[in-house]
Symmetry: C2
Subunit: 345 residues, 2 copies
DNA sequence: CTGTTAGCGCGTTCAA
DNA sequence: TTGAACGCGCTAACAG
């Protein structure tokens, strides 16, 4: 019974026309008053504003967006939200967006190309003001992103990008940092360094591989082993990979891992076999492990500066939305990642 | 120069009217054809559909939403996305939502009441189809959620809820599970068990505290220490708390921790002081530690079933949107969390 | 089978 | 200072 009473009393969404009707003015007057347009009598303005406040008037953004006046919705597409790298980005962008009057909608490709395509269509349907993307591992072809340009929807890539789409991009210095850690391992005396990374259709993994190989070449190392993992980066996959590596001859004496989850898998199995770190095996990982401090020994890692990546991506997108950057302009921002030295190598 | 050319050639968003004009039919015919309305000649339908496909026609959802026809946008409000509990929920809900034709917008309160209030207003402005919320630690008063009912916007609470708002809620069995782990520790021989939790204005922490205390009472334990942390749950705070606890006399011999981050802080400091786990100190934590397998000893924890929470919350919300559940109906779903026994106590 | 008309909520002309 | 009329893109009721 009670529910019915509530439903009957339920207030319908109040519109400017409702206010206009109640106050015996035209709805255009109400519209003006609400937007503090000068040309409306002080008295009527007060009347209108009070009424609006008392009845919890809220602008209908759908109407505004339909008129093409404002559109404050940004779409964020990430491969997943399980990895800390991406959830940090989502977190930071959600805060940034809200603080600047934008609503952020999140889409997850789960690393699937097909889903990514569909999502782009959805984004066009909903007429988002802009899109920030890190592409799926599956994505080999980038036509769907070109579609966005056709609809004049601003687009910014971060981390995993499409090289052939002309639009702002935010990346980290994958080549340089991987070269640097490779050199670091070499100088520490490691001779058989495995580079564990993703498939080279993705710039991130390709750049890392090139960085690794360039340094292997520079130092004329005999052992070279760049392993591309096409599976999802999970702890389980990390375990499998380590087991395979450890059975090989010669055994590696150091691993550069592109993913925290892979690293954890490696560490678990290494421990189970009694492999000493850093003596038997050196290890460096991309990304901060949340519980890094309790892992013994602490793992040397690369801080990917998620916060700065998010910040730069957001700024670029907003500039595009405001037409301060042209659509199709190809700005590249490089965020400098940092090696945090611990005792795993 | 090139940019300008691109801009001039930029295709404007194509509408049903554009199609109608090109094909010399009325735009309502186009509308019908696109929605596969029966009453349109096979021939013209084909014509229209082909044209639409070739020109990448995409329905303007803003127009649909303005008409009140469909609204497929769901707002998800969480305290933060840094904790795994919430990022798992965000991940799962994003997938679920998309698979069912909804767009999910994410909002982060950063545990602030004031922000939560503002976000609710934003949600009303944008006329979201529904809202899924876990409230901020700061939130003592729930009026802002009542506002949603006024606008007939469906609302589902999960985990951290407002008791006095009548609407569907999804919780875990905090009282029972905390009682259970308390009893478990007691039976293991621990005598001085500290319960580390949040402020009791939040149901989650209040229920846990009650569960703990009920069992302490049952077993007539002398030592009782339920510690409410009002700060954010961070590793640093966890460290501080442990240090304070360890200086106290008598020292606790077991800790129940409400947060993974606190737990990590505790473990770090315990190790630095050479405290043996589980001998000197037993520990159980709410939530899975991502790198749990490499932590020695492995920590007994409570699996909070994020996936099921997300699933249930989503189902309830969709039913409300479809009017299969009345607004203001107070359904409570309890998800049974599980103890995963390891060797930390 | 197709066209006409009206309206969702709003802002923006142009008139008064 | 205010009102009337129009249109954003779409669907639905009605008419032919």
């Amino acid at each position: 019974m009670h529910t019915f009473v509530l439903n009957i009393n339920m207030q319908k969404r109040i519109t400017i026309k409702d206010i206009a009707f109640e106050l015996n003015v035209h709805h255009s007057t109400v519209s003006r008053a609400l937007r503090n347009d000068q040309r409306v009598k002080e008295e009527t303005r007060e009347l209108i504003l009070n009424y609006a406040r008392e009845h919890d008037y809220q602008t209908n953004m759908n109407a505004l967006q339909l008129r093409g006046k404002t559109n404050n919705t940004i779409a964020l597409i990430v491969p997943n939200i399980n990895h800390n790298f991406f959830s940090d980005i989502v977190s930071k962008l959600t805060n940034l967006g809200y603080a600047n009057g934008y609503v952020i909608s999140v889409f997850q490709t789960n690393e699937k190309y097909q889903l990514e395509r569909e999502i782009i269509n959805t984004i066009i349907k909903y007429n988002f003001a802009g899109v920030i993307v890190s592409i799926a591992k599956d994505t080999l072809q980038c036509d769907h992103f070109a579609l966005l340009k056709k609809y004049a929807i601003p687009l910014v890539f971060f981390d995993r990008i499409c090289e052939d789409i002309l639009t702002p991009k935010v990346k980290i210095n994958n080549f340089e940092i991987t070269a640097e850690i490779t050199e670091y391992l070499i100088k520490k005396g490691y001779k058989k360094i495995v580079h564990l990374t993703g498939t080279t259709n993705i710039n991130v993994f390709r750049d890392r591989q090139n960085g690794y190989e360039s340094m292997i070449r520079n130092y004329e190392m005999e052992y070279k082993n760049s392993l591309q993992v096409s599976d999802d980066f999970t702890v389980e996959v990390g375990k499998d990979i380590f087991m395979k590596l450890w059975r090989q001859s010669p055994r590696p004496d150091a691993i550069i891992s592109s993913s925290v989850h892979l690293t954890i898998g490696i560490l678990v199995e290494a421990r189970s076999l009694g492999v000493q770190i850093p003596k038997d095996l050196g290890i460096i990982t991309f990304g901060r492990i949340v519980s890094s401090e309790i892992i013994e020994p602490q793992i040397t890692f690369i801080d990917q500066q998620e916060s700065e990546i998010a910040q730069l991506s957001f700024e670029l997108l907003v500039k595009m939305i405001r037409h301060e950057i042209q659509l199709g302009e190809s700005i590249e921002k490089i965020v400098r990642s940092q090696i945090i030295y611990k005792s795993s190598c």
